[in-house]
Amino acid sequence: MMESLAVSLVNAVPALSGVPLWTMTLLVMVVVAAVVLTFALLYAGLATYVERKVAGDIQARIGPNRVGPLGLLQFLADGIKLLLKEDIIPAKADRFLFALAPYLVFIGSFAAFVVVPFGVGLIASDLNIGVYYVMAISSLVVVGVMLAGWSSNNKWALLGGMRAAAQIVSYEVPVGMALLPAVLIAGSLSLQDIVRSQGGLLGIFGWNLFHNPFTFVSFFLYYTAALAETNRTPFDIPEAESELVSGYHVEYSGIRFAFFFLAEYGDMFVVSALATACFLGGWHVPFLDAEALPVAWGNLFSLGVFLAKALGLVLLMMWIRWTLPRLRVDQLMRMSWKYLVPITFFNLLGVSLWLLVFHGKGIPRMIASLFG
């Protein structure tokens, strides 16, 4: 894909025709990566602002409103503050692992942005194993979290790291199982293909969410499990501010802490984007066929719609966070293994049977065919 982009760029700008193709391809890759990373960081910064604003609204407060208009530049001020803060490494910490951990977490979270289908043609890399890739790369987070907890040489951090390991490993199973129905329906692991499979029918009823009752349940199961995978309340036991002080990143300060922080918000977006792509029709614009539009408009519309859906889900996460208390660690495990895992398996079975019996047709399509 990068190569084709490079080819079209060379074709469009004749002055570049002398440059070898591999250089152009590399250049395009770097630019795309930079764009995605910029988006990710900007999003994460703004998300922290929105989170605080949402918390303020819910708690009858105002939230940040001093830096910039409506406090919009608060995240910049926070970022600068974190950059300038002293980088403290505890004397008895494992220095190498302590320094490494935040990068692993950050990479694990932001590398997943690569396969997020932002629009009709807006995807950094349309991997044919997209869903697998996200699952795999986001597992890097747990390694980082565990390293952070271990290398801090702090018992609270260690407990937090262990909790995180147990939690994320447990919840990978229901997350994967809950995503599989979408993969089954599309017959592909590529996120772009999954999105394409949900087109038509006014753009809403083609969504996997309404495909059949099992996929409907699947979406909520995925969302719940994903909440746990991103360590958000009510499943934020690795941080558990009131129990473990702040869990695995208790010893981190300055920019290293910021990496953990950004990674959390990056994770939130990734799981929301995945939910959007797999169940909410991805970038499909309601009542409009984005692919039929001119390339520029199609991309713009689809980007807007995708972001709206995904950020809506992120907002929902914030809303949940400021409402619910926290589960205990054993209850969390019970919830995964006794509730989510069996139900997701049952769902997967249901979807498979549905596809077998009705030849891949969803309820809305059946109703539509009734009316011709």
Partner: protein, 376 residues
Amino acid sequence: MKARAEALPTQEMLINMGPQHPSTHGVLRVILRTDGEVVVNARPDVGYLHRALEKIGERVTYAQFMPFTDRLDYLASMNCNAAWAWTVEKLAGIEVPERAEYIRVIVCELNRISSHLIAFGSFTADMGAFTPFLYAIRERERINDLFEDICGNRLTYNYVRIGGVSADLPDRFLEKTKEFLDYFEPKIPEYNKLISYNKIFVHRLANVAAISGGEAVAYGLTGPNLRGSGVSFDLRRSEPYSVYPKLDFDVCVGTGERGTVGDCFDRYMVRINEMRESVKILRQAIAQIPGGPVMAKVPRAFKPPVGEVYFRAENPRGETGIYLISDGTVNPYRLKLRAPSFVTMNIFEKVTKGLMIADIVAVIGSFDIILPEIDR
């Protein structure tokens, strides 16, 4: 499986929870011995906030000790103020005007609501839900406004005096209190909807650290912690003082609503229900309050007769007992404060055996301890 567990030696971990920890409600230090997440032993280590209040009490005059009672339990200063006044009045045999007694009961019950609000709020915050805490603070702020009107301060009130109260109620105070009650009463069901009956919240609290009624009595628990274990014992009812006999209210007890009797959830619900009862008491007191003076004649250089006295009052955290020996001078000869939170810490080690670390936080929160009272 078993053989493998033996081959992999594990050891207990010693963790220091506090004195700087977000949910030990101040400077309580709990020494945890844990096996992974499971607590083998949790020993509370108190004393980080010791200010020798009892000794101070022996050095200052009876009237001068009043501001120090504010610092005994700073979330229920009015109750501590009044308890001190009642003790000294009992010792000296001072007749207090009835209006003053009603004012005392009104401020005490308002303060009970405000204290229980903090207990409720900080408890939910310990459980991970931060929002109810701010709602509780919002309501408490209104009570603070009322107290600011009445005495000028928002936390350490120093309002009650030996022989009465320092000043009569300001204009419109009773109306404002009524307005507050009308505003506050519908908030209690809202709290219940928002958090009390939330599935996660109930799961975190039900069947955790259940204390049977007999145990609670044996360990000297008082107040909501005792009533949470199903023992109907409220000093306002069983050993009435002030004008409480004239007021009608129910004694809330734990019923094992969502688990066993005497678990964390019961102790929590007792507090929620007591707020409702306090509203009931306040409405009656406002309706009944007579006119008249608010201060008895007490000489400025107040010297009670030689003797000793023990008085106990039902404070938000339980029975605050004050034992006082007078040698006829202006200073008490000996002062002993029985602080409910301190007594509660006795049972802490017993009930936390075998719980998880997260439960320790729940237990501390459900006991609603306050550190200045533990350490005095």
